[in-house]
């Protein structure tokens, strides 16, 4: 339903309210209010030119849109406001009218809307002129809305919901508009300094509530900011990005900090375009010092071949574009391709982009090390972004031995602490319960065996036996459970360590040159020597 690729970074941030979205096309309705000098206008006052960093963006963007939906939009919720963040790709993906209609139709029953009302939402699109004016420049949209009192999650999925939101349509119950909740003006501040916003605008909010649409004068504001506002600093750190939302009454704004992972995700989404820029003005062939395995994915293989022959810009661009779309390639392919792209960015002196990629890779592979031939800068990036992790392996016999103590086989690092405690607790608890039930069963059986008639107890002798036997059965069941958890924990520990060992081997000295990368492999080659002709099998 979300027809986008999920790049590595996106996989790492599942909790973000991220959805592919499409902005829409429809004429702006009645524009009654006039913009004041301090408030954003209702119509764009100019059409933005591509600018030095946006040459060819419009063509690239339309090419991406033609390939399929991609990009993600995000929702950040605060006390009084909510911010909808959209990249250009997300705007394109959310642009279909049918998505908005689908969102309304999903809420038709909950809100008791008529079919005419559902169809009417097709015509809501106050931003078409702004999107058109900003089409040629790589800008990220931040739309600030007043918050609903209660939101109805009745849409047919997140994609239609965000599509409707990109047109200013909200679904739910709303408070009466107040000056304090109205969005009058928005500033974007990066590390405390105000960012230039090439385009700002405002539009009414269409509130879809029970049986009706409400247009009570509430407005939302969009600011278009350059994608560079999301770029990491020289050290690779995510910048501090804040929205200052003024309501026209209070002198001080509401400050809405953007989550780091959102900033990184937006930057990540724009990396394909950044990669595209590599070859602009620098098309030289640069033989790469690192060599990675040939990917299985055909598109990545094309990028890999470009990388091998030194066309770094093409390679990085192809990699990033492939990673925008589904199906997701093999994990090793993703890793190697991202490292190829990072290498390309590094060699083209674009450390910010390279660092972004290396950070993502290192987050999943904290034990990754580059081959000695790797550029120093790349190695430094890996070291700087390396997270604490156990990058050594434990011999499997030792793990087996440790697993005798339940959970100790798992206690190989902080990441597996919960697992270790779980195995320990599960085994001990199961065994404890088994012993409890067994001892109770024994006591019950003693009572049964010593009964000599005369109904001295209110309980029939038959039920004494049943009680004892039930206790024993429970004890046996918990014994089986304890042994299962214990043995299963041991097997899991062995398997996990085996996998860990394999992963370590995969990411040790990645990018070694062809000559040295064959280490540890079997090689079959012709053997011709004095007196002998044949094949030789070597273990390297």
């Amino acid at each position: 339903m979300v027809p986008t690729h999920r790049p590595l970074l996106m996989r790492l941030f599942p909790s973000l309210l991220a959805v592919l979205a499409c902005a829409a096309v429809a004429p702006l309705g009645d524009v009654a209010a006039q913009s004041s000098p301090t408030r954003p206008p209702l119509r764009p006052d100019s059409t933005l030119s591509p600018g030095p960093s946006g040459a060819g963006f419009a063509e690239w963007r339309s090419m991406i849109a033609a390939r399929g939906r991609t990009g993600a939009s995000f929702l950040v919720e605060a006390d009084r406001y909510q911010v909808h963040v959209m990249t250009p790709m997300a705007i394109d993906a959310l642009a279909q009218d049918s998505l908005t209609v689908k969102a309304t139709r999903g809420c038709q029953r909950a809100l008791s809307l008529s079919d005419e009302q559902v169809e009417f939402t097709r015509r809501i699109d106050p931003w078409v002129e702004f999107d058109s004016a900003s089409y040629a420049r790589p800008l990220v949209v931040l739309a600030v809305f007043p918050k609903e009192r209660r939101r109805f999650d009745c849409h047919s999925g997140e994609l239609p919901r965000f599509a409707a939101m990109s047109r200013g349509a909200l679904y739910g119950l709303f408070d009466d508009p107040e000056p304090r909740t109205a969005v009058a003006r928005v500033e974007v501040r990066r590390d405390g300094l105000e960012e230039f916003t090439p385009l700002t605008g405002r539009a009414k909010v269409t509130k879809l509530t029970r049986t009706t649409f409400v247009e009570d004068g509430s407005e939302h504001v969009r600011v278009y900011v350059d994608v560079q506002a999301f770029s990491p600093d020289a050290e690779g750190k995510v910048p501090s990005l804040e929205l200052h939302v003024f309501n026209g009454v209070d002198p001080e704004p509401d400050i809405l900090p953007m989550p780091d992972r959102l900033i990184r995700a937006v930057w990540q989404q724009m990396l394909p375009w950044q990669a595209r820029q590599l070859d602009v003005g620098d098309t030289r062939i640069t033989p790469p010092p690192l060599h990675f395995a040939t990917p299985k994915d055909s598109a990545l293989r094309v990028a890999h071949e470009a990388f091998e022959r030194g066309a770094l810009g093409t390679a990085a661009s192809e990699v990033m574009m492939r990673l925008m779309f589904r199906p997701r390639p093999d994990q090793a392919d993703i890793r190697n391709s991202m490292l190829e792209a990072a290498t390309a960015f590094t060699l083209r002196d674009r450390p910010a982009e390279a660092l972004s990629l290396v950070t993502d890779v290192m987050e999943v592979y904290p034990c990754l090390t580059f081959a000695p031939e790797a550029p120093t800068q790349l190695k430094e990036m890996a070291e700087a972004t390396r997270k604490p992790a156990r990058c050594t392996s434990i011999p499997l016999p030792i793990v087996a031995l440790r697993s005798i103590v339940p959970g100790w086989g798992q206690a190989t690092g902080p990441v597996r602490r919960n697992m270790a405690l779980g195995v320990l607790a599960g085994t001990v608890a199961s065994y404890g319960l088994a012993e409890f039930f067994r001892s109770r069963a024994r006591a019950d059986y003693e009572r049964y065996a010593s009964y000599t008639g005369g109904t001295t107890t209110p309980e029939p002798v038959e039920s004494m036996y049943r009680k004892a036997q039930t206790g024993r059965n429970l004890g046996n069941a918990f014994t089986v459970a304890a042994v299962t958890v214990w043995v299963g924990g041991g097997v899991e520990a062995l398997w996990s360590e085996y996998q860990h060992k394999r992963r370590l081997a995969e990411v040790r000295e990645v990018g070694r040159t062809r000559g040295s990368s064959a280490r540890g492999a079997l090689a079959l080659s012709p053997l011709v020597s004095v007196g002998r002709v044949g094949l030789q099998l070597r273990f390297q």
Partner: protein, 234 residues
């Protein structure tokens, strides 16, 4: 050395843990008072008793020893029954012992039982009176006379009374059942005939004079036998 010690330690730990992790067998269901238990209980005793006052001693055997303090309730047919008491009554006379309080010549099958709470073990005994001694006489019991003291005329008939006793010298009741098990014969059928005799509750024998002479009428019931002389005069 270090490795072997570790192996030894690991083996010990595993052994200890595994030994305590065995799956336990189901408990033996061997309480004799449990109706669902596997213990086989059997009550045995005499097949039959033949006199009022006779004791019935039974033996309760079990595949698992029954503890001496175990509570066993012994019952027969004397208690708990509504309506008139049966002609045959067997009472409990102590642990594993019963006594015949009432019986007749008609044998009845009586169950004597051991109750282990809800578990019941029973033994069936035939109870009745068996004739051990028999006395024939004419006249009444209070004033008996010799049957040959007066002669009979041919064609006339005479009633001969009897008194049957069981092993404990109790008069036998329901003599018709005893007589059905006995015989009455005339030594000389040309003098008197016993053809008119039918089993009856009073235990009497009816003889009919046929021809002149004298002869013996013999009655045998089980272990009792007696005879009287009858004279027929023309």
């Amino acid at each position: 050395m270090k490795t072997s010690r570790a192996r030894c330690l690991a083996t010990m730990v595993v052994s200890v843990v595994l030994s305590s992790c065995v799956i336990e067998e189901p408990f033996a269901r061997d309480n004799p008072w449990d109706t669902g238990s596997d213990v086989v209980l059997e009550l045995t005793g005499p097949d039959s008793v033949h006199s009022v006052g006779a004791l019935i001693d039974v033996v309760l055997s079990s595949s698992k020893p029954i503890p001496p303090e175990g509570v066993i309730v012994w019952k027969s047919n004397e208690t708990g029954e509504a309506g008139p008491p049966p002609e045959t009554q067997v009472f409990t006379a102590g642990p594993a012992r019963f006594v015949v309080r009432q019986a007749t010549a008609q044998y009845s099958q009586i169950a004597v039982s051991a109750f282990l709470d809800q578990r019941i073990v029973a033994w069936q005994v035939w109870v009745g009176q068996r004739t051990e001694s028999l006395d024939l006489f004419c006249g009444s019991r209070l004033a008996p006379i010799a049957c040959d003291a007066t002669s009979m005329a041919p064609g006339s008939s005479r009633i001969i009374s009897s008194l049957a006793l069981d092993g404990n010298t109790n008069p036998v009741g329901r003599m018709e059942f005893a007589m059905a098990r006995g015989t009455v014969v005339s030594r000389d059928p040309s003098v008197v005939s016993t053809a008119l005799t039918q089993p009856n509750a009073a235990g009497t024998v009816t003889v009919q004079a046929v021809g002149a002479g004298s002869t013996w009428v013999v009655m045998r019931i089980e272990n009792g036998i007696d005879s009287v002389r009858v004279v027929v005069a023309p």
